[in-house]
Symmetry: C2
Subunit: 220 residues, 2 copies
């Protein structure tokens, strides 16, 4: 739009890239696998982390909970007794490598096997900001409408795992889950796609299978 | 974070304010009431506009549908035979006065009584960007979780109408609608708060009452 904005944005993205690589290096040195959990508001990101923390017995978990006001999400995860940290973005609609870099300075990574980084709830802003993570999970729910995947191509293209949550509500909200899966598959033929209903326990095993496999096979 | 960004952001917000006032002037000259419809992804913004277009017999409606990819929302509204226009933001997570200014240049406002401007689906980015509208509607649904209002105070503070949609699904998603209403009331004691289920026809009359009242009483 205006030149100064474009220049500032380029600077910002370059700087983000540099810091993301630094974060990745720090995480690798500590033997930590980091997973950036992205998704719409209320799609189930915090609940996924809660249930995973509870289920992952053989690995030590840490969590950074990002949000405009992260306190509630932080408390939901911290009560499981894992290392967790709230990361407030204030008015920003995404985390960036700079914020995560500062968080990693304060976060004791010793002994942590997997670090979940919950991003701010939307499907647009987080796209351009690599945090230094190893894997990306993008989560949506059928209640957002079955056009939600097709309308946000960029974020689904960069996902390693795409979770379509609340499938048990599909009929009630007249959403076509197959269409959502097809849109996801078309945008990202390589991603693992999981139909899930976290509250009903559907698809969680499949997620845990993927995660355990990643944690066991990863050279750290 | 960095000085250049802060400066660019200040410039951007100042420029937005100026263009918003210009938009407001153009709309006033044409006797058009503009309503900025904000809300989360899949909260029901497009459906609200569709149903309103269908129900508003005594007023001529126009609609600008903003989204990263606005084509689908545009087609959903245009099929009712009203003047409508898609407004793609590309990678931006909100509309701004500049984009709307260009849209108004191309949009034939003659005879239009009320113009709905559907913003991009999230509860963070649109906050700082006045579009030149007369009223602001913020829409969420119970499926986003009953903490969604409390976690996004800024956008609810500036709303004239707060709609809590999909209330019939509250039990299925274990959401406490009263808590959402209380959060909204605490953040914004003046706003009209409507419990709605658009697909079930609940709360729509209340919305139409508010809208008709505004349209009839407005000096244009």
């Amino acid at each position: 739009m205006h030149k100064i904005e474009v220049d500032a944005e380029m600077d910002l993205l370059e700087e983000n890239k540099r810091l993301a690589e630094e974060n990745r290096k720090i995480l690798k040195e500590k033997g930590v696998i980091a997973i950036n959990v992205m998704g719409a508001i209320g799609s189930g990101k915090t609940l996924l982390i809660e249930k995973t923390v509870e289920a992952l017995k053989d690995f030590k978990v840490g969590a950074i909970l990002g949000d405009v006001i992260a306190k509630d999400d932080y408390e939901r995860v911290a009560r499981y007794g894992v290392k967790a940290m709230p990361l407030n973005t204030g008015k920003e609609c995404h985390l960036d490598a700079h914020l995560v870099h500062h968080a990693l300075e304060d976060f004791d990574l010793d002994g942590i096997d997997v670090l979940f980084i919950e991003n701010v709830g939307n499907l647009i802003c987080p796209v351009d900001f690599d945090l230094g993570e190893n894997y990306r999970v993008v989560m949506v729910s059928v209640t957002e409408g079955d056009d939600v995947v097709g309308k946000h191509p960029e974020i689904f293209r960069l996902a390693d795992v795409i979770i379509i949550n609340k499938v048990e509500l599909a009929e009630a909200v007249e959403a076509n889950v197959d269409k959502m899966v097809e849109d996801a598959r078309r945008l990202n033929p390589k991603a693992k796609i999981i139909k899930m209903d976290l509250k009903k326990g559907i698809g969680f095993d499949e997620w845990m299978e993927w995660l355990t496999c990643v944690l066991q096979s990863q050279e750290r």
